[in-house]
Structure formats: structure tokens, C-alpha cells
Symmetry: C2
């Protein structure tokens, strides 16, 4: 059971669920209405998302509202950080090159 956040966002249906509940909490039935799949399949995705703490649930009577745990998304951002450094650095190098060319032309 590999259950980390990268595995969680690998599935396109799960990314769609994340997008759906990012702004408002929704019940499994309501979420399933948006896809060509069964409620049970959505339920399984929600379980995976819950297990890696990307999603939190709140019970209201017999309904359970699922919503995005936005802070968990920062973990991906944190991972990206090291690569962002690289591409920003390359951009700066290009920038330097361009200004050098400019100076040479002058």
C-alpha cells in the first residue's frame, strides 16, 4: 500500500475530485454525479485521498462532507522547490546572456 501524495494525484479522476472539492465541501454522491463512474469508485478514491490526508471529512447526519486539506498540497510545492531553483537559475543565466548581447551591440 504505497499511499503518498504523489501516488494520490497520479490518477486523473482523483485530480478532478480534488479540483471539485477545493472550494466547497461535497458528499460522495454529489461528487459521483460529476463523473461517469459509480459512487463506490469515488468512495474508494476518497478513501485514498483521506488516507494520505489530502482530504478531510465532516459528518452531518447521514451525510459526509469531503473537502480539500489545502495545506497538504504545499508538500508538492515543497518538493517542486528544488527544481524551481534550477529553472529560475537557468532563466537568470539566459537573462545575463541577453543583457551581455545588448551591451555588445551598443
Amino acid at each position: 500500500m504505497r499511499r503518498d501524495i504523489f501516488q494520490a494525484i497520479a490518477d486523473p479522476t482523483r485530480r478532478a475530485i480534488i479540483a471539485l472539492i477545493a472550494l466547497q465541501a461535497m458528499t460522495p454522491n454529489a461528487i459521483a454525479d460529476n463523473f461517469n463512474t459509480t459512487r463506490q469508485a469515488v468512495s474508494k478514491h476518497l478513501r485514498i485521498l483521506t488516507e494520505c490526508e489530502l482530504v478531510k471529512q465532516e459528518q452531518q447526519g447521514r451525510e459526509i462532507y469531503y473537502s480539500l486539506e489545502i495545506n497538504k498540497m504545499k508538500e508538492i510545492d515543497k518538493w517542486l522547490e528544488q527544481y524551481r531553483k534550477i529553472w529560475e537559475n537557468r532563466f537568470n543565466q539566459l537573462d545575463d546572456l541577453l543583457s551581455t548581447i545588448k551591451k555588445t551591440k551598443r
Copy 2:
């Protein structure tokens, strides 16, 4: 064959390969030396990474050097953008709340 970038980074070995070749190009053998797996397994990962254009190859004699296609990583950043907006917004709301409390105290 689902072969998008999210599926590519889902595997921890592939993320390790990405980290390894981010700064310098490496041959499959050299990469495999860093893991408890066979060269062939690494080769398969490299194929997947190449197919989704996260990695580029450069032949030099009988060796093939693999390196990270850093620009492709920006796609993940682009996807994260929508969620970054949300968490920054929440942070601002908290900020507003705190300054309101400050004002009330005064």
C-alpha cells in the same frame, strides 16, 4: 498506457532518478549504481520518463546520457497554481483576521 507527468512522478524510484539527473546528465549504468535495482529496471523508468518528455537523452559513442528536461517540471507548477491561489488567499484572510483583532484590542 497512461503516460502523463503526474503518473511519471508517482513512482519513488523515478523521483529519485529525476533528483539524480537534475544537475548532471548520467548514463543508465551510473544511475542504476545508486539504487538496489537492476539496470534494466532503471532503463524502463527512463523510457517512461522519456516518453512523457521529462527526460532527454544524448548519445555519446556507446553511452547514452540522460538529463532532466527542467521545463517540463513547470507543468506541475502550473497545475499547482490554482491551489497556491487558494492557500495564499486563506493566509491573507488569516492575516486580515489578525489585524482586525489587533485593531479591536487597541
